[in-house]
C-alpha cells in the first residue's frame, strides 16, 4: 500500500497513518487498498483522505454464478462459482430474511417462498460493498468533531474532506485535485 502524507504536525500525521493501518486490519481491507493520501492541517482545520482500492469484481447476475431450480416450497440455488458464495448468502439473507433462506450445504441454498424467476434476475454488486467498507474505515478514522464533510467517489477512489465549521471552496477544489491525482497514481 502506497501512503502519502501532507501535514503540519509529524506526530499527528504519523499516528493517523498507523491508526488507519489498524482500522484497515479491523475491517479486513488491508489487501484491497492500493494507495492512501492524507492531508492533515489541524490549524485550518482540514482533514482530507483519499483512498484508492483495487478494482472490485463487476456486477453479476445470480443466474451467471449459480444454478437456480424450482423445488418443493421454493427455489434451490446451487452455487457454481464459490468466490461469490458468502456474498450471495449475505445478500439473500438481507433481502428475504433468515427465516426464508436456509443454507443446506456449502454451495446449496434453499429459498422458501421465492420464485425461480425472482431469484434469477437478482444482481450482486461487489463494488458497492467494497465502497461501503472503505467508507466505514474512513468514518472510523475521521476526527469525531469534523462533521462537515465533502465526499467524492468514483469507481475505485473515495475522497473525503472534513472540517469543523464551513467547508471552504478551496478545500473542495483541493479534494477534487487529490481525487484526480489518485486516479493517475502509479502503485
Amino acid at each position: 500500500m502506497k501512503v502519502e502524507v501532507v501535514g503540519t504536525e509529524k506526530f499527528g500525521t504519523d499516528s493517523y497513518v498507523a491508526l488507519f493501518n489498524g482500522i484497515l486490519l479491523d475491517v479486513g481491507l488491508t489487501r484491497m487498498v492500493e494507495a492512501v493520501k492524507f492531508i492533515v492541517n489541524p490549524s485550518d482545520p482540514l482533514f482530507l483522505i483519499s483512498v484508492r482500492t483495487r478494482k472490485a469484481m463487476s456486477l453479476v447476475k445470480i443466474s451467471e454464478i449459480a444454478d437456480v431450480a424450482r423445488t418443493e416450497g421454493g427455489t434451490m440455488v446451487t452455487i457454481r462459482d464459490e468466490n461469490y458464495a458468502p456474498r450471495l448468502l449475505t445478500f439473500l439473507w438481507r433481502k428475504y430474511g433468515r427465516d426464508r433462506i436456509e443454507q443446506l450445504s456449502r454451495l446449496e441454498i434453499l429459498c422458501r417462498g421465492v420464485s425461480e424467476q425472482d431469484i434469477s434476475v437478482l444482481e450482486l454488486h461487489p463494488g458497492e460493498e467494497l465502497r461501503s467498507r472503505v467508507l466505514d474505515a474512513i468514518w472510523r478514522l475521521l476526527p469525531e468533531g469534523f462533521k462537515i464533510r465533502h465526499n467524492i467517489s468514483s469507481e475505485n477512489i473515495t475522497t473525503v474532506a472534513a472540517t469543523e465549521h464551513d467547508m471552504k471552496k478551496e478545500w473542495i477544489e483541493l479534494a477534487n485535485k487529490v481525487h484526480a491525482e489518485m486516479g493517475g497514481l502509479d502503485v
Binding site: Y16, S43, P143, E144, G145, K147
Partner: protein, 312 residues
C-alpha cells in the same frame, strides 16, 4: 503523615498484624481473602512502617507501597466514542487501579471537535468530587495547545494531561505525559506499558504533594476511621454496588442515597462528636451517593469558637 501499604501473605496469624496496626494507630482499609492467602490494604503512621515491615517478615508476607490507595481518580476523555481513545482511557484507568486507586472513566457530553469542544459547569463540578483527574487528549499539538486546554481550565483538583505530541508544557494542569495517542487496540507492547507506568508514577507524585499540603493543616480524623464506623451500617453491608465506601484524600464517598441517610450519617459518633460537627455531608452529583468532606483541625476549632461566641 499516614502511609498506605499492601500486605500480601497468608491468613495464618493475620490477627497479629491487625492488632499491631491498631496498636500503632493505623487502620485496615480492605481485606481480600483468597483461600489461605490474603491481601490487606492498611494505613499506618509513617514512623511506624518499620514495625509493620518487621511483622510482615515474621509472618512470611510481602509489603508493598500503594501510593494511590485511598484515592478516587477520574479519567476523562473528550467523549466515550471510539474516535476518542477508548483503549488508552481504559488502559490508564486499569493501570491506576494496580496502584490502589479507585478510578472512574468519564466522557464529556460535548467534548468532541476542536473549537466546538466544551465542558459544562456540571461536568466540572462532578470531576471536582474526585481527588485528581487525568485528561486524555488527542494527537495534534495545535488542537491541544490552542483549544483543548479550555476543558481543564479552572478545575479545582489536580489535573494530569495525557496526550500524543511532545509539548513543552501546558497551563492549568499539574503535569503532562506525552506519547499516548489514539489506538485501535489495547496498550500491551513494552513501550506502551512503560507509558502507563509513567502516568501512574506522575499521578503518584501529584497525590503525594496533595497529601503533604493536607498535612500542613491535618484533617480532624482520617477518612479510614469514619469508614470503620460507617461500614457497620446495615444499608452499607447490604449494598450491592462495587466498593460501597470509597476513601478520598479528605473524606469519603458512600454509595447510599444522601436524602434518605443524611440524619443517620450526621449522628455517627466520632471522638465524642457528631460527624456533622467535623465534616460536611452532601449529596454527590452522581446519583445515589453521599459525599463526606472532613474538616481540618483548624476548621473544627474555628467552628467551635464561632459556636461558643454565638452561645455566649
Amino acid at each position: 503523615m499516614y502511609k498506605v501499604l499492601m500486605f500480601d501473605g497468608g491468613v495464618y496469624r493475620i490477627t497479629e498484624l491487625y492488632e499491631l496496626v491498631e496498636d500503632v494507630g493505623g487502620f485496615v482499609i480492605q481485606k481480600t481473602q483468597i483461600q489461605v492467602g490474603i491481601v490487606v490494604t492498611l494505613v499506618v503512621p509513617e514512623e511506624e512502617v518499620p514495625a509493620i515491615e518487621g511483622k510482615t517478615q515474621e509472618l512470611g508476607g510481602k509489603l508493598t507501597d500503594v501510593p494511590l490507595a485511598g484515592t478516587e481518580i477520574a479519567v476523562v476523555a473528550p467523549t466515550l466514542g471510539r474516535h476518542h481513545m477508548p483503549h488508552p482511557v481504559c488502559d490508564i484507568a486499569e493501570h491506576l487501579r494496580r496502584y490502589g486507586a479507585i478510578t472512574v472513566v468519564m466522557g464529556l457530553a460535548r467534548g468532541k471537535g476542536r473549537q466546538t469542544a466544551q465542558i459544562s459547569a456540571d461536568e466540572k463540578a462532578t470531576i471536582e468530587e474526585y481527588d485528581a483527574a487525568v485528561f486524555v487528549l488527542g494527537n495534534f499539538e495545535d488542537c491541544i495547545v490552542k483549544e483543548k486546554i479550555r476543558l481543564f481550565e479552572s478545575i479545582e483538583i489536580p489535573v494530569l494531561v495525557v496526550c500524543g505530541p511532545e509539548i513543552n508544557g501546558l497551563p492549568n494542569c499539574e503535569g503532562l505525559v506525552t506519547g499516548v495517542c489514539r489506538k485501535v487496540e489495547r496498550m500491551r507492547r513494552a513501550e506502551e506499558v512503560e507509558k502507563l507506568e509513567e502516568v501512574a508514577q506522575f499521578l503518584g507524585r501529584i497525590i503525594a504533594t496533595s497529601r503533604k499540603e493536607k498535612d500542613e493543616d491535618p484533617l480532624f480524623v482520617h477518612p479510614a476511621e469514619i469508614r470503620q464506623r460507617i461500614e457497620s451500617m446495615d444499608v452499607v453491608k447490604k449494598s450491592l454496588r462495587p466498593a460501597p465506601i470509597v476513601l478520598h484524600l479528605d473524606g469519603l464517598r458512600i454509595k447510599i442515597p444522601f436524602e434518605e441517610w443524611r440524619d443517620s450519617l450526621a449522628n455517627i459518633e466520632i471522638f465524642g462528636r457528631r460527624l456533622e460537627e467535623v465534616a460536611t455531608i452532601s449529596g454527590a452529583r452522581i446519583g445515589g451517593s453521599t459525599l463526606i468532606r472532613i474538616l481540618s483541625r483548624s476548621e473544627v476549632q474555628a467552628r467551635d469558637a464561632r459556636r461558643s461566641i454565638a452561645a455566649a
